[in-house]
């Protein structure tokens, strides 16, 4: 027993060597997606409020959730995707910091206030948002690109030249939109039609892969399902590429800044939430990661090539992006069946 106690003390000492008391003043710990945060934004925040910021990265919503759910992570700020905000509010992991009562809230684009994942913005504010549609080489295909028919019923010049995302929801949702059916669809007859559509289109698809930029710039394919930021970067290498806004609809997504319930530096976290709603700061975010933010007036501070980028600035006649809610479990199981048949 005595030895065990000594061992325990040694372990505690090891922890204590590098440990200090929790949460000193003047700190802020941010946990965000990798390669997503402008270092200039951090520096500006540090200088404005004399706060020392620590930034760490994660690579998926799920890893972030796993850590946060255990508690005492030491992080103040996280940047979950839309559906993950809802999950975290339901699990009581986020602090109700009420951004809607903050000074800079007036800058927020009203269309991003009453969203299904945080109605009225009691917990979170927009970080960046984007769309998932597809990119076509307009030198290869000269017709109207704003239709999902190019993927599911491709013209001769695009047959065998298509890359789809290797993502169940992105592919099935596109199929549902093409047939005019609703998302999160549990209707078995409609899903059977979708399965037939996908199986009929599959011989025309060359690959199903996430590496869309590489696929397009190496000229392996001429059409690829794509995210708008990736589409912009691919276009820089291959100027004839164009990002489509299909008339049948396309997916939108948003990452949001939120404060953890057990944040050690709650006041600084609130300062940060207010800070990023200032137009010049929101512009810093977009200039770095190349996605749109949700703050009005930020365009005055954005790089000119972003303001003219058709991937970022949607044409007026484009449909509203569809922010898909997470589906109920029985629908997910039906989707899995469709996906398995498609991938056989």
């Amino acid at each position: 027993m005595k030895r065990f106690v000594i061992g325990l003390m040694a372990a505690t000492a090891l922890v204590a060597v590098a440990a200090g008391p929790a949460a000193a003043d003047g700190k802020l710990n941010i946990y965000n997606w990798g390669n997503y945060t402008n270092p200039e934004l951090i520096k500006k925040f540090e200088e404005t409020y004399t706060v020392e910021v620590t930034l760490d990265d994660y690579d998926s919503n799920e890893i972030m959730l796993a850590k946060v759910r255990e508690g005492n992570t030491g992080y103040d700020i996280v940047v979950p995707g839309d559906y993950m905000i809802l999950v975290m509010i339901e699990q009581d992991l986020l602090a109700k910091v009420e951004p809607n009562k903050m000074e800079n809230f007036k800058n927020l684009d009203p269309k991003w206030v009453d969203v299904w994942w945080d109605n009225g913005r009691e917990y979170s504010v927009p970080w960046q948002w984007g769309t998932t549609s597809f990119t076509v080489d307009t030198e290869v295909y000269k017709g109207d690109i704003n239709t999902l028919a190019l993927m599911f019923d491709p013209p001769a010049e695009l047959q065998g030249r298509i890359n789809m995302l290797n993502d169940m929801n992105d592919v099935i949702n596109a199929g549902l939109r093409y047939l005019g059916y609703s998302r999160c669809n549990g209707n078995q007859d409609q899903l059977r039609e979708v399965t037939e559509l996908l199986l009929k289109a599959k011989p025309h698809w060359r690959t199903m892969d996430y590496a869309t930029i590489e696929k397009l710039t190496s000229r392996d394919v001429d059409l690829s399902q794509n995210w708008n930021g990736a589409a912009m970067r691919a276009r820089a290498d291959r100027p004839s590429l164009k990002y489509a806004y299909p008339k049948e609809g396309f997916t939108g997504w948003m990452d949001n800044v939120a404060v953890l319930k057990d944040a050690p530096n709650m006041e600084n976290a609130k300062l940060f939430v207010n800070f990023i709603m200032a137009p010049e700061n929101a512009a810093l975010i977009s200039n770095f990661a190349r996605y749109a933010n949700g703050v009005l007036g930020s365009d005055k501070f954005m790089d000119p090539e972003m303001l003219s980028a058709p991937e970022i600035v949607m044409p007026a006649d484009a449909p509203t992006p569809d922010f898909v809610k997470p589906c109920p479990q029985e629908v997910v199981e039906l989707y899995n069946k469709v996906w398995t048949r498609l991938k056989q």
Binding site: L14, A19, G34, G74, S218
Partner: protein
């Protein structure tokens, strides 16, 4: 790892028994071996080649350049992550080697005792349990400790690394001890050397190659760990492999290739040192 240190026990094959029993002469051996080597090393060769590419793409070659290495050295995130990796690896290596040496002595330099097999099993546990299980368990356990004590900091990460490095350090040390006969120690005891002196003057000097080998293995294992680190690391404790993982979603630039190449180089350096050191001592 034990095999590496005890190859001297295997007799060299006689020329004239080169027969159908020798694996090297089975049909297809060379083809399969080369295929394995190709699939294991070709991706790494491609990764290294493109780290010297003067282009943002990781698929189209343009020109030779060191620009991604410069970019990597200028990157604050990469610099911090490297520093954290080194700190954690050094501390974890130091403590895990000490504990592993103590464990190896206690499991070899004694009479057989009840529960010895159980002791092996417990020491080697981190090798047997899937890493994700250890990671999740450690995450919850540390969270509980933080809740009770209020202590935070990099010490938790160091402790976690120390624990899973112990079996890696333990194996070469134990292999070395099993190769060493008790004769010298018994002679010293006969000459009235007290136990500490026997250890200090006889056992430890003979054991050094095993300890060095164990320490190097522990260092490399700590440096390469992703899963446990990903879940246990707190603010400002991102290690290099975890940093690399975090970059992947937003597209890989050759900067990551450059860092990976450096990390690979470091790992190779340590494994080579480990090998040469073992060879020299023989």
């Amino acid at each position: 790892m034990a095999e590496i240190s005890s190859t001297s026990a295997v007799p060299a094959p006689e020329e004239n028994v080169r027969s159908a029993l020798n694996l090297r002469w089975q049909p297809g051996f060379n083809q399969i071996a080369w295929m394995c080597i190709f699939f294991l090393y070709a991706p790494i060769a491609v990764l290294i080649a493109f780290s010297f590419n003067d282009n943002r793409s990781v698929v189209v070659w343009t020109d030779f350049s060191f620009r991604w290495y410069e970019a990597a050295f200028d990157n604050r995130g990469i610099r911090n992550a490297t520093l954290v990796s080194m700190q954690v690896a050094v501390v974890a290596t130091f403590f895990s080697t000490i504990f592993a040496t103590m464990a190896a002595l206690a499991t070899t330099r004694t009479e057989q005792y009840r529960g010895q097999v159980l002791a092996y099993a417990i020491i080697n546990q981190p090798l047997m349990i899937p890493e994700i299980v250890t990671a999740v368990a450690t995450l919850s356990f540390f969270s509980l400790i933080k809740q009770v004590t209020g202590l935070t900091g990099i010490g938790y990460l160091m402790l976690a690394h120390t624990v899973f490095c112990i079996p890696f350090a333990y194996m070469p040390i134990r292999a070395r001890l099993e190769d060493m006969t008790l004769t010298l120690e018994q002679a010293a005891t006969d000459l009235y050397a007290p136990p500490w002196q026997v250890f200090r003057r006889i056992t430890l000097p003979l054991l050094v190659p095993g300890v060095v080998a164990g320490a190097m293995l522990a260092f490399v294992v700590s440096l390469d760990d992703v899963i446990i680190t990903l879940l246990v690391a707190g603010p400002g404790e991102t290690t290099l492999p975890v940093y690399i993982l975090g970059q992947i979603r937003r597209g890989i630039t050759p900067e990551i290739n450059a860092v990976s190449t450096l990390l690979l180089g470091l790992s190779i350096l340590f494994v080579t040192l480990f090998f040469l050191y073992g060879k020299r001592r023989k």
